[in-house]
């Protein structure tokens, strides 16, 4: 290994935990650089879900029998694990959804429609993922809530002056912004944003789909009203997302999905909502997936988020240096504080052509707009390639990426 880039993690040991990383792609090593889209799963997560299904599975919250109690205990233990992962004050403030996208929609419905009034506004930013744009557009179109977009700088950072200007008239009910951009890698100054929003009477939601994977998150320190993330990006299974909300805010909101479990009393005339978190968890929840998420949280905690953060900072520095050497490569976003996500274009070829070539060399990158069309329009680019790191990414993989990009560039020259 490169001497001056001392790994903070035992990467060989970690990679051995991920069976899929030893798969071959057309006989070549699998260089997976798309963790930002979805991360690979360690044996520990896979096994936890299998064991649950083999020994402790039944529907939750309803059985007067032991197996149901086992399942319920496991499910609620997952909730507590998430509470601690986010450093939330109360497990009732953790709502399980199927994804970050669903969590944001839940807030748009329960808070946007249920609490906010027509004439009020929601502020998002130019760098949001579609999941944090479309629900607010839908809210605008159905409920007359104004949608304002705070600008970003050419370096890809949130323009805090513009955010302040958009908050100035006191009409904003919610600021909904990313905690870390899935395209630019920009980590936003969440504490400052929350303070600014609150100072103008607005609540704040953070899309932590990327951030929760790459940085320690403390929702109380941030004073976030809402925080969302998703299990499948955190080395857990698909089908499980998390909404954190302050208890008093959740209690004021209208439910999103209606059905069983979210009610405490049902007649045909009316139903009485269950207390939180149940109010927002209609129907049979993603039980097995929640157990998988718990195992994923245990996995990252065993390594330590601090160590993971340090590993990534070193990788980011290494990647920035290597990518800067590639003539013809334009990186999107140069934020001071950036995580392991790199979107770029190569001057000789379209992103798709580059990605196809790299695929042939066994590298997995994303190409397109990464669910951020407005962001690409803001920078005047059609589409980009994106490389994103996980806790199993090695400096050697970054070197392989750089070499492959040079050859791909030259192939199309």
């Amino acid at each position: 290994m490169d001497g001056h880039l001392a790994p903070r993690l035992d990467l060989a040991k970690i990679r051995a935990d991920f069976p899929i990383l030893s798969e071959k792609i057309r006989g070549k090593d699998f260089t997976f650089l798309d963790s930002g889209a979805s991360a690979q799963k360690p044996r520990q997560v896979i096994q936890a879900m299998v064991t649950m299904m083999e020994t402790a599975y039944a529907n939750v919250h309803r059985g007067a029998y032991q197996m149901s109690e086992r399942a319920t205990e496991a499910y609620e233990a997952s909730r507590i694990a998430v509470q601690h992962f986010l450093h939330a004050g109360d497990a009732r403030e953790i709502i399980f959804t199927k994804s970050s996208t669903e969590a944001i929609n839940l807030v748009a419905h329960g808070y946007g429609r249920g609490v906010m009034k027509p004439g009020q506004a929601v502020v998002i930013s130019e760098m949001e993922h579609h999941a944090n744009i479309v629900p607010w557009q839908m809210l605008r179109d159905s409920h007359g809530i104004e949608l304002r977009v705070a600008r970003i700088t050419d370096a890809g950072e949130l323009d805090m002056d513009d955010l302040a200007a958009k908050l100035a008239d006191g009409k904003v009910g919610l600021v909904a912004v990313t905690h870390m951009s899935n395209v630019l890698g920009t980590v936003t100054p969440a504490e400052r944003i929350a303070k600014l929003a609150h100072a103008h009477g607005a609540r704040v939601l953070f899309d932590g789909s990327q951030a929760a994977v790459h940085r320690r998150v403390d929702v109380q320190a941030l004073d976030a009203d809402f925080y969302v993330f998703t299990g499948h990006k955190l080395y857990g299974p698909t089908g499980i997302g998390v909404l954190y909300g302050k208890a008093e805010v959740l209690e004021s909101m209208t439910p999103f999905l209606g059905g069983g479990d979210m009610i405490s009393e049902v007649t045909f005339e009316r139903s009485v909502w269950a207390p939180i978190p149940g109010k927002f968890e209609a129907g049979t929840p993603p039980i097995i997936e929640a157990i998988g998420l718990h195992a994923a949280i245990d996995y990252v905690n065993a390594i330590g988020m601090a160590a993971i953060e340090a590993h990534e900072r070193a990788l980011v520095d290494h990647a920035m240096a290597k990518l800067a050497q590639i003539e013809g490569l334009t990186l999107l976003g140069h934020a001071q504080d950036r995580g392991g996500v790199f979107a770029f274009s190569i001057d000789t070829a379209h992103a798709h052509d580059i990605a196809t070539l790299l695929d042939r060399a066994g590298l997995a990158l994303r190409s397109g707009r990464h669910c951020a069309e407005p962001l690409h329009a803001r920078f005047g680019v059609d589409s980009t390639c994106r490389a994103s790191f996980g806790l199993y990414t090695t400096p050697e993989e970054v070197d392989v990426l750089a070499e492959a990009l040079v050859q791909a560039r030259d192939f199309f020259r």
């Binding site: 060399a361 050859q407 791909a408 192939f411």
Partner: protein, 158 residues
């Protein structure tokens, strides 16, 4: 050609790279009788196709403008090259045949009528081994169908 990208010549043949870099008929057509736009929202390929139809309905001229990957541009370039001078019925037939070619890599129906024209499109047959890129190759032909159907519809390979 590096071993890193083995078998890429299946897709990126010289013809494709050439048409991708220097597309033919790459201009607007001011006297266009039919125009249509095509768009691959997933990847950002987009194009505008211009057709000049003669009195008897045959395609006098076909040009395009657009931005996108080498495959989509090369496909549009080869298409406009091969449909010029043909009847609308022939162009539609070629469109169907090309779809088969792009999705399967072969085209049994390509023998016989229009064989020569389809022969010129065979460099793109390699795209069938790259399922995520088939839509890049067929975008131009979907746009052509939209143009022939009546002129100013938006087409997509989706």
């Amino acid at each position: 050609m590096t071993a890193l990208f083995d078998n890429l010549r299946d897709l990126y043949q010289e013809v494709i790279l050439d048409h991708g870099r220097k597309p033919r008929h790459f201009r607007r057509l001011d006297n266009a009788t039919r125009t249509a736009r095509g768009d691959n929202p997933m990847c950002g390929d987009r194009m505008e196709l211009f057709l000049a139809l003669a009195e008897d309905g045959h395609i006098e001229d076909a040009t395009f403008q657009g931005r996108g990957c080498a495959i989509s541009i090369a496909s549009a370039s080869l298409m406009t090259d091969t449909i010029a001078g043909r009847t609308q019925a022939e162009a539609r037939e070629m469109s169907e045949k090309f779809r088969t070619l792009a999705m399967t890599g072969t085209c049994p129906a390509c023998e016989g009528a229009l064989a020569e024209a389809m022969e010129r499109l065979t460099p793109l047959s390699g795209v069938h081994e790259f399922p995520s890129r088939v839509k890049c190759a067929t975008l131009a032909w979907h746009t052509l169908n939209a143009a022939l159907d009546g002129g100013t519809k938006e087409a997509s390979s989706e």
